[in-house]
Subunit: 327 residues, 2 copies
């Protein structure tokens, strides 16, 4: 064990009895190499515990050494969203496996240039965009093509990793119908967020199929807006007996607004959320919602960016209904 010094590619090449170039080809998997060379290099790598130096590699490939996670939103407050925190933690854990670090950025909604600026900065190995808009995705320079993934809606060049909103919403609203609710309102996400459409569609369909009336009110994923929305809903359609919000935070706010109105949950009105944030189980009544593998989603996006071999354009992750007390 001369494990004192960290092994370099030269060490590997020497141990395998090949040139550094050949060793490099085998390690990266790019370029030709005879089976024999392949084996010997692989053995040397294993024996020496060789790990490529990310800095050196980045220097020569101009590949960058950092993965940027960018969140699009109206204000920098989007970075405080629990969903973002979870996704970031998962990204930072997954990226660590590749010896890559993650940086976090807020992209102002109405400033598409900010994405381009970020994408153009040196040292960027890849980009994961959370909640992108389609126009924003268009501004990604093609120098980054193949090293961008979206959590949310994607594009032709940008593979998408996302919750199956349609299915998730379907499950929740059906649950409400099944448990006897028939006048169901929905609080949506921000209108600029394209992936919310699928959810609204699904809601519409289920409600119509069950002979109900469509009652949609806009939201913005915040709790404060949920409380307002609850008041709005009850004023506009006083006989509402269920509210579905496309965000747990908003659903929690709805709970609050309803409480202020003296409405009993779930007695008078059922409330359901979306995402199963940690607090969902802690509210009273505990929030019925639908849970999503955010960690898997983020890990998928990161691996697509860092590994990038034949990624399918859209990967959906399914929802699981979590029935607690509120619905």
């Amino acid at each position: 064990m001369t494990a004192n010094r960290i092994a370099t590619l030269d060490d590997v090449a020497r141990a395998a009895g090949v040139s550094r170039a050949t060793a490099s080809r085998v390690v990266t998997g790019q370029g030709p190499a005879s089976p024999k060379a392949r084996d010997r290099v692989a053995a040397a790598v294993a024996e020496l515990g060789y790990v490529p130096d990310a800095a050196a590699r980045a220097l020569v490939t101009r590949g960058g050494t950092r993965l940027a996670v960018a969140v699009i939103g109206r204000t920098a407050a989007v970075l405080d969203d629990p969903y973002v925190g979870r996704a970031l933690a998962a990204a930072a854990t997954t990226a660590a496996e590749h010896e890559v670090g993650v940086s976090l950025h807020w992209l102002p909604l109405h400033e598409p240039a900010s994405l381009a600026r970020l994408a153009g900065s040196r040292g960027l190995g890849g980009l994961v965009v959370i909640n992108p808009t389609r126009p924003a995705l268009e501004t990604v320079p093609r120098s980054l093509r193949g090293r961008v993934a979206a959590i949310g809606v994607g594009s032709r060049d940008v593979p998408s990793f996302d919750v199956d909103n349609r299915n998730g919403t379907d499950g929740v609203v059906r649950h409400l119908v099944r448990t006897g609710r028939s006048r169901i309102a929905m609080v949506t996400g921000p209108s600029w967020l394209p992936c919310g459409d699928r959810a609204v569609d699904a809601y519409r369909r289920v409600v119509r199929d069950s002979g109900g009336e469509v009652r949609v009110v806009p939201g913005d994923f915040t709790a404060a807006r949920g409380a307002e929305a609850a008041v709005e809903i009850m004023a506009r359609w006083p006989d509402t007996d269920a509210v579905f919000a496309l965000s747990d935070l908003t659903a929690l706010g709805v709970l609050d607004g309803l409480r202020g109105l003296g409405v009993d949950v779930p007695g008078d009105v059922a409330v359901a959320g979306f995402d199963d944030i940690p607090f969902a189980g802690l509210s009273r009544p505990a929030l019925t919602t639908t849970t999503h593998p955010v960690e898997d989603i983020a890990a998928g996006a990161v691996r697509a960016v860092l590994g990038s071999r034949d990624i399918s354009p859209v990967t959906f992750f399914s929802s699981t209904l979590v029935v607690r007390e509120s619905a």
Copy 2:
């Protein structure tokens, strides 16, 4: 504007009419340089918008290009703590200013070697340890000295950035006393966490000063444990009229446990937490707690690691009491 290509140090040197070596000295601030050279280089840097290439620099300095955030805890679940998420987001944002990415790691409590292993991995530019133990800090190799900071307790070699637990606790408990509570119990953090001691001390002091009895029950920062602790406390000291938990999550659990017992909050028993997590304002009753500049703390630690010039060994950040409904 030949701003097409990103400027390198060579461009700067040429523009300033000096050698690349001199330009490097000025940019890094290391080594001698005449005032004149300094000025010319600075001007060139500004004009060309020069940003050093992190990868190239890391390659030659062996400085690494990635900042690891490591959280010590009994299980990997510590990574899900909202406090960690907030700190990570702040770290990832601050590190971005230095073109550095962040990776996230869990360090098993009883496996000190894991820290050494992480610290030894190549490509590591720095290390921020959250909630370290003193023994764990001892295992940090000195090759990383000056590039490590702690959020929590520090050591002779590792500067500490932390909430002033003593002051924070003092403020909360005094508030309880001031509002007429006299039989105050405390739910602590995990016993292995050294920085909890200061809080317990402060609690003891205030309680004794006001002629009360010390009632301490161990916690672990989870909500589940809070619920249990509430039951324990009320069984052991039935006349308890206030509970202070060193974690909001735990305080939320206490709220829950008390509710199960049919105890009215704040009528019968006041409850106060610590940290002001986002959900604190959303619980019913809304949680009285004390708020901390987690973002500033994390940013401080990151800057200490990345900038590292004369950092004071301990930096305390103060708490602010947030009075809501529960106390």
